[in-house]
């Protein structure tokens, strides 16, 4: 019988866990090493923020928080590659990508601190808010991409979902729509190994998560998500394809969730310490530090100074969050409708009167 179709999934990596380049031709952006250094500094900043956020939760100053520890290369790589006019549809952990787009740490803290104003964040006003219902954002991104295509705008919609979220009906539907309409759409599947307690191997019998895009006719690749060069290179390539009308992509970023799912979780109940220890050997920051120091682009002294600066910058954000007053009770009603119905206005008045009793 003839073979009617053949598929393969490429795995992209330039910088190994040992901090050495593996000899592949570097992507365009990496040819100027200063670009890599810039991204490294952002990765350190995100980690500094993340450490602080977990500490705030542990001391009762923040609600449940989803740490991004270990995802720094993937997040910074995605966010740094996008244009301002592109649309970003995150799940709820991709702070690094959002910081590159102008979202402030104080916005993240407001959201996890139980205040809706966090969702009205700084940065591109057309970007989507955090999306806790898993993977629904993928279809919103496909819809956004369809609007760009219908209006002939050179913009791309980028969404993120986890390895768990790649099982969701919405993810498959988004892949299908993006292929059917040849949309400027990129689905970033951030495979960190765990969906709360369920490991990657229990989600699907598929060999890679990237190959899910093949069924929809999208460009598919698997990338070392702890290698910033590979992440940024894959994003640059996919964005170019999408922006020039050549259709959408699925990129699987293989990384690892070094922390618990959220601060409400205790991963020791379901995964081995040995696995986590091994994952620390592959984490994104130390390999890049080794590389940059070997290349004489960075030093321990510079790092100490930059970390101090990160701490100072994060403290400004934390203080801004902590000083924010709770919204008045009527804020519960004020964004329900563009034109406030009389029925709701009456309850709003009741609520204000009750608070002043």
């Amino acid at each position: 019988m003839p073979i009617v179709a053949n598929f393969e999934i490429e795995y992209q990596q330039y910088l190994g866990p040992d901090g050495r380049l593996n000899g592949e031709d570097l992507p365009e952006f990496a040819k100027d090493r200063k670009n890599i250094l810039e991204l490294f500094k952002h990765m350190l900043y995100v980690r500094s923020f993340d450490t602080k956020a977990v500490a705030l939760q542990r001391t009762g100053k923040l609600g449940t928080y989803a740490s991004c520890l270990g995802h720094e290369a993937t997040h910074i790589g995605i966010g740094s590659a996008m244009h301002y006019d592109d649309v970003f549809a995150p799940s709820y952990r991709e702070y690094g990508a959002q910081f590159m787009r102008g979202v402030k740490p104080r916005d993240v803290l407001m959201y996890w601190g139980g205040d809706e104003r966090g969702n009205n964040f700084s940065g591109p006003p057309h970007d989507y808010a955090w999306c806790v219902p898993i993977a629904t954002q993928c279809l919103h991104a496909a819809g956004a991409a369809l609007s760009f295509k219908l209006r002939g705008e050179p913009r791309v919609a980028v969404c993120c979902v986890g390895d768990g979220g790649s099982s969701k009906t919405d993810t498959y539907a988004a892949i299908n729509s993006a292929g059917a309409y040849t949309l400027p759409f990129i689905l970033c599947i951030i495979n960190n190994g765990w969906a709360i307690s369920v490991p990657r191997k229990a989600q699907t019998g598929a060999k890679t998560l990237a190959q899910k895009g093949i069924a929809g006719g999208l460009h598919c690749v698997q990338v070392d998500g702890n290698d910033i060069i590979a992440v940024r290179g894959a994003m640059d390539h996919a964005l170019k394809l999408a922006r020039n009308g050549h259709g959408g992509s699925v990129i699987e970023f293989v990384t690892y969730r070094l922390a618990d799912h959220t601060t409400a979780d205790d991963a020791r109940r379901y995964r081995d310490d040995a696995e986590v220890k091994a994952a620390w050997e592959r984490e994104p920051i130390s390999r890049l530090r080794t590389y940059l120091i070997n290349e004489k682009l960075w030093s321990e002294t510079e790092e100490a100074a930059w970390k101090e600066e990160c701490g100072r910058l994060v403290d400004i954000e934390v203080n801004a969050y902590l000083e924010t007053k709770v919204q008045p009770v009527e804020a519960m009603f004020d964004y329900l409708y563009g034109d406030m119905p009389a029925d709701v206005l009456a309850q709003r008045a009741d609520a204000i009167a009750w608070e002043k009793r």
Partner: protein
């Protein structure tokens, strides 16, 4: 016998029924190795194995659809929706299939499933983790909708739900999962699914509530007792089908009724009770029926959520209004 919490009573009921009926299986996200994010299924996979306690892929459509398939082919699945706010993708399977499987096949296929749903607000949770969405389901014919508010009722009602021949949406008020402990004999005795529970006898006013708000409602009754006011407290643990007779009998006696629920006011389940009182008890009422509910808005994130939820003070004010007439 050690006293146990509401959530431990859930685990106890699941274990009892799995032990006595090999067709009962548990499925959902993180229910296996992890024992559930609230620990409702803790230890069950160790006892019954991974063929009876199944971790599903992360997809609520998958969970609901598989559950319908299992239930229609002789299994008795108890599925978990991890949080109230995550159950909306399941609605297609619940409404278009589970609720009407018996009806549309004229009894040829049936759907004896239970969907357990940690329910409600007040735990400082992230967005979409605090919904009081029971009235979406009480409006669906063919479903049973149950919500226990004590360890004993959780045990007895969950056993009844699993043994029932039709689909049951079993809401678990997560705010009171660990509120207090009581002794719950592990005797396999189910409670009836179609009765309200009178938690406290009284003669001056009837307080009607369910789920987490039973806590505030009972506290209100205590406060009223100190003022010499006698409140009857009814837990509508089985919302659908509704045992209206128990409520009617009480209101005929007291002449006053205050309904307390966490969900938004408009078309909340309190509206159904108030409407039936208007139909059947109008001439027995000494005062208009009062409702103490969430506002007609989304439950706010946690900085404001306690201002949204009913409180003892709000219930007391409503009782005083009813008594002033």
């Amino acid at each position: 016998m050690a006293a146990i919490t509401l959530i431990e009573a859930i685990t106890q009921a699941l274990a009892y029924e799995m032990k006595h009926d090999e067709n009962v299986i548990v499925l959902g996200e993180d229910v296996g190795v992890n024992g559930g994010v609230f620990r409702a299924t803790a230890g069950l996979q160790q006892i019954f194995g991974d063929q009876r306690v199944l971790d599903t892929p992360l997809d609520e459509t998958t969970i609901a659809g598989l559950t319908v398939g299992l239930a229609t082919q002789g299994m008795k699945p108890v599925a978990e929706a991890q949080f109230d706010g995550f159950m909306y993708p399941m609605v297609d399977h619940i409404i278009c299939h589970a609720a009407r499987m018996r009806y549309r096949t004229r009894g040829r296929l049936t759907c004896p499933m239970v969907l357990r749903v940690p329910w409600g607000g007040g735990i400082r949770a992230p967005e979409h983790h605090s919904e009081a969405n029971e009235s979406i389901f009480t409006n669906v014919p063919g479903l049973r909708v149950v919500m226990p508010s004590s360890p004993q009722r959780a045990y007895g009602l969950l056993l009844a739900a699993i043994r029932d021949p039709d689909p049951v949406i079993f809401f678990e008020p997560k705010r009171i999962y660990r509120q207090y402990k009581e002794e719950v004999p592990d005797d396999g005795e189910a409670l009836p699914l179609d009765v309200c529970f009178v938690l406290r006898d009284g003669s001056d006013v009837t307080l009607v509530s369910w789920g987490s708000q039973i806590k505030e409602t009972l506290e209100t009754a205590d406060a009223l007792a100190k003022e010499g006011i006698s409140a009857e407290v009814i837990d509508v643990a089985c919302l659908k089908p509704l045992d209206f007779d128990t409520i009617l009998e009480s209101v005929k006696k007291t002449g006053r009724c205050v309904i307390v629920h966490e969900a938004a006011k408009t078309a909340g389940f309190g509206a159904e009770i108030a409407a039936r009182l208007a139909e059947e008890a109008l001439y027995d009422l000494h005062a208009p029926v009062e409702r103490v509910t969430g506002y007609d808005t989304h439950i706010p994130l946690f900085r404001l959520e306690m201002k949204y939820l009913p409180s003892v003070e709000k219930i007391l004010a409503a009782v005083k209004r009813a008594l002033s007439v």
